[in-house]
C-alpha cells in the first residue's frame, strides 16, 4: 500500500516542485519505489526539474482516457531506477480532469512505496483535485509573512480532509539571517502555525539552478533533504541545523561575509 503524500503550499513559487523532486530522489536513493505525480495540470514543471521533459510520450490524461497503461506513461529516472514521474497534461482542456480521475490513477499505484503528488498553487479546484487523492500532506513554506499567511489557510483546508499527518517543510531558510534576528526561525513558524516541522531546507543558489541528476546541489542541501526523507519515512521531526555553517571561526567569517 503506497503512502500518498501531497506537497502543497497555497502560495506559488515557494519551492513545492523542488521539494517534491528532491524528496523523491532521496527516498528513491534509499531504495524506496517512488512515483512523483505532477498534479499541477496546465502549469507542470516536474518533468523539467527532473530533466525528463524530452521523454514524455504519454501523460496523465492519456492514462485517464485509457489511451495507454499507467506503466507506459511513467518515465523512469536513469539515475534512480526506482524513481518514476507521471507527467501532467501536456495540452488541451484540463478542466476535464477531476478529483475522481486523479484518485483513480493514484489508486492504481498501490505497488509503490510512495506516491508524491505535486500540488498546484492556490486553493481552487486544482488544490482539491490534488489533495483529495492524498493520505498525508507536506506544506512547503518560506519564512515570509505572505507565504505563512497562505499556509495557514491551506492547513485549515487540509484539516477538513481525512489526512493522517500534516507537516511543514520550511524552505529557503537563511541561517545567517535567523542568527542575526532578521528572519523568523522554523521554530517560530511551527509555533505560530501549530504544525510540526517535517523538514528545513536552507536557501541555496545550487538548488535554484539544479535539475535532473544535478539535483541536491551541495552536501548541505543533500543532508537537509536526507533528514526530510528520514522524517517522512520514520515519522520523525528532526530539524536540519541551519546555524551549523555559521559556527566556529570559519563560520563567523562566513556570517560576516554574507552580511556585506
Amino acid at each position: 500500500m503506497a503512502r500518498k503524500i501531497v506537497i502543497t503550499s497555497g502560495k506559488g513559487g515557494v519551492g513545492k516542485t523542488t521539494v517534491c523532486a528532491n524528496l523523491g530522489t532521496q527516498l528513491a536513493s534509499g531504495g524506496a519505489k517512488v512515483v512523483m505525480l505532477d498534479a499541477d495540470v496546465g502549469l507542470n514543471n516536474l518533468d523539467v526539474l527532473m530533466g525528463l521533459e524530452n521523454k514524455v510520450t504519454y501523460d496523465i490524461y492519456d492514462v485517464i482516457q485509457g489511451k495507454c497503461r499507467i506503466q507506459q506513461a511513467l518515465i523512469h529516472d536513469v539515475n534512480y531506477p526506482s524513481l518514476s514521474v507521471l507527467p501532467s497534461l501536456r495540452g488541451g482542456s484540463y478542466s476535464k480532469i477531476g478529483a475522481a480521475e486523479i484518485r483513480s490513477v493514484v489508486d492504481r499505484l498501490g505497488k509503490y512505496d510512495f506516491v508524491l503528488i505535486d500540488c498546484p498553487a492556490g486553493i481552487e479546484s486544482g488544490f482539491h483535485r490534488a489533495v483529495s487523492s492524498a493520505s498525508e500532506a507536506l506544506v512547503v513554506v518560506n519564512p515570509t509573512v505572505s507565504s505563512l499567511r497562505d499556509a495557514d489557510k491551506v492547513i485549515t483546508l487540509l484539516s477538513t480532509y481525512n489526512l493522517s499527518s500534516i507537516n511543514l517543510v520550511v524552505n529557503r531558510v537563511r541561517g545567517d539571517m535567523v542568527i542575526r534576528g532578521e528572519c523568523m526561525s522554523p521554530v517560530d513558524i511551527s509555533r505560530l502555525l501549530k504544525t510540526h516541522i517535517g523538514g528545513v531546507i536552507p536557501e541555496s543558489e545550487y538548488i535554484a539552478m539544479s535539475y535532473g541528476a544535478k539535483l541536491l546541489g551541495s552536501d548541505e542541501e543533500r543532508y537537509a533533504f536526507s533528514l526530510l526523507a528520514d522524517n517522512v519515512v520514520n515519522g520523525r521531526h528532526r530539524i536540519y541545523d541551519y546555524t551549523a555553517p555559521y559556527k566556529g571561526i570559519l563560520g563567523k567569517l562566513k556570517l560576516l561575509r554574507r552580511r556585506y
Binding site: 515570509t144 509573512v145 505563512l148 489557510k153 528572519c183 517560530d188 505560530l192 501549530k194
Partner: protein, 79 residues
Amino acid sequence: MRGRIENLSRLKTVLLHDKLLLPNNFEEVLKSEISSLLDNYMSVRRDTVDINISVNQDGEYEIVVKAYADRLKNTPIVI
C-alpha cells in the same frame, strides 16, 4: 529589512484577522445547532441564545455561549 520580531508581530496580526473572517452563516448555523442541543435538556428561550466567537493572542478560538432557560426538562441523563 524587517526583523524577526516585527515579522512575527505582523504575521500574528494577519493570522488573527484571517481567523475572525468566519464563513457566511457560520454563527447562525452554530447557534441553531446549540439551541437544539440545549433544548433536549431545558426549555431554552431561543431568542436569548447568543454565541460570541473571538480569537485570543495564541490564535485559539474563544467561544462563549450565553442562553436563558425557564426550566429543566425531565430528560433522563445517561453518563
